[in-house]
Symmetry: C2
Subunit: 417 residues, 2 copies
Amino acid sequence: MTLIRSWLPAANDPACPFPLNNLPYGVVSAAGGAPRCGVAIGDRVLDAAALAAAGLVTVPAGTFDAPSWNAFMAHGPALWASFRAELTALLAEGSAQEAAVAPHLLPLADLQLHMPFAVTEYTDFYASKHHATNVGTMFRGAENALPPNWLSIPIGYNGRASSVVVSGTPVRRPWGQVKGPDEALPRFAPSARFDIELEMGCIVGRSSTGPVTVAGAEEMIFGYVLLNDWSARDIQAWEYQPLGPFQSKATATTISPWIVTAAALEPFRVPVPPRERETLPYLEEPKPGLYDIALEVGLAPEGGEETVIARTNYREMYFSAAQQLAHHTTSGCAMRTGDLLGSGTISGPQKDSRGSLLEMSWGGKEPLELPGGATRSFIADNDTLTLRGAARGDGYTIGFGEAAGKVLPALEDPYAG
Amino acid sequence: MTLIRSWLPAANDPACPFPLNNLPYGVVSAAGGAPRCGVAIGDRVLDAAALAAAGLVTVPAGTFDAPSWNAFMAHGPALWASFRAELTALLAEGSAQEAAVAPHLLPLADLQLHMPFAVTEYTDFYASKHHATNVGTMFRGAENALPPNWLSIPIGYNGRASSVVVSGTPVRRPWGQVKGPDEALPRFAPSARFDIELEMGCIVGRSSTGPVTVAGAEEMIFGYVLLNDWSARDIQAWEYQPLGPFQSKATATTISPWIVTAAALEPFRVPVPPRERETLPYLEEPKPGLYDIALEVGLAPEGGEETVIARTNYREMYFSAAQQLAHHTTSGCAMRTGDLLGSGTISGPQKDSRGSLLEMSWGGKEPLELPGGATRSFIADNDTLTLRGAARGDGYTIGFGEAAGKVLPALEDPYAG
């Protein structure tokens, strides 16, 4: 697909993350103003409630009353499609509505970005084979790296919805129980191995109550964000057996501020890699379920320059979001509007395509070298970690905004408050 | 503590689960009526919104507008205490308000019971030593039964809030991936080892944003329900490594319909058992954190008589709810009004005090014998499983109502809908 030209010049720049082909959904506020639903286009944000109030788009009454896209998502795919078509017509080059629409455009640079939706429940997966192999080798040895179920099940666990924050929110290094291999008993200490996980987050728009096919799951998915599943590796190593990660993953989960819709990503579909073991029929892919989205991680020390420490792609996943969502419903588990599914850390085959510092530094044994002689095995206090993503079409770019967070030092006494 | 006598005769019966000492909170509806907040007393339910509208109790405007106790809980402990004191005065023997209150009493037998609160997030623990030892022996062998971290950490994992249903809701036997020890590849099949877990559920009333002490956690806890964490053991065995149970626990989680407040349970406090390993200071118990609550499980085949298959007590836990909640916040994890914490399966030391069929039948090797010659290793189709609980004071009983569910046969084709 090629660029759909807009009468907004900035939207036609091939490097602009928000061309008319994108139309991502966020929640914004101007200085002193209340948060409201907005659509990014070029260097502007279209005020969705104002557009609806002016009769320029047709949505059910109350859709944009709250500062979140949950109500819109709950209306389902027919409204998603009609609203997108209306926006496209309004903003396209040659639209007769330019003068009517223009007053509802706010300058993006002046706005604060908020959580674009209320997270109902959050599930995190473990479905990139390179990542699972790397981590499994470090945690359980090379012979047991990939668990016996891994090629059959999109392995997932329930995460903590209250941990999800929007890009820019500072992240406080957590305390927790840790125990070194030579220590007899655990200590309560700040995490010394605080890490990122580079993931995509899939947002459930339409709810379900029983088992759903992969094709049905595709129809439930509203869109995607970048997602950083901050992870305290030392806490994780001590707590995770036998019931999985818990406090090691509960400090924060940072997402990018714009929901990029499945519709915008449609031209970038790619199939999952060839199966290495026959898949059970309920997990078969009816159409290519991944997307070609280039991803990168930047690390910037306090006051220093940023280094891109990893580059990978969402197509490195072994299971797609639709396969994960279908598996999530097998037991009859109800899914609801606003459910967030983390893809799991996305690692490629090369050392510089790994999605976590744990993998990049191989558990701390091979520290990363940064410009100026600094090194990192895990995150240092006041480092800012930033995820970026882009799907590149013919003359246009689909961007997500950043998922960035600065890691603040641990509290001196966590119980002083 | 002794019975507080009410002018409602039924509330003074020593066997009545809802004496004036209890005052549990639920959501009820009369035939054809809308669900509303109610307080159980004797054989009646007091309409909370009507009581507030009549000016007989003092709550902030809007507290009872929605059919859930979340808004009330969010107001915090001062309101919890003042409201309870007002109710107690209104309903006590000799109250001058009997005539004013009486019109707002509905006959309990005529009412349908609904979810008493909206579950924000659900966490399940694994904190009864007898249960962990039994299950660990079966899943990992006697040498590895209790994981190295178990005596130090209240082991917990995030569960699925959308699975929580009120007593009486039928439970459909799930499908899922299962693999027998002699099978090379997994099959997709109905669970053949569907089970209960007898637990208490602790409800967070007041929210928190940073690490909370055990004493602070006590102040956040609003009340308790009975909780059955339905578990598909065959699905669990195949899926749970390395990141914990997922679809095996997502079919349903049944709770009793009445929230019994921490205030009502106060006279029944008992300490956690002696520590077998020194506890980290953040988990030390400032006051006895468990409660003496007798628990039982009944199993009734379709059309048959119920057999009580297990009797145990909440005091068998190794970690209390307040310790679990404090641990839950160590990483900075935000807790919110309506969060539900399952205690973990509560097993005692005897075979007939085990809280799951997995343990009672020792993984199916020692089936239970029911009257009339029937046997059970796991749940059979159309069995009804019922949890009951009672704290017994001097001349009165604190009851919870039942947590009951009938297990319906698996769908013939889960994807036919």
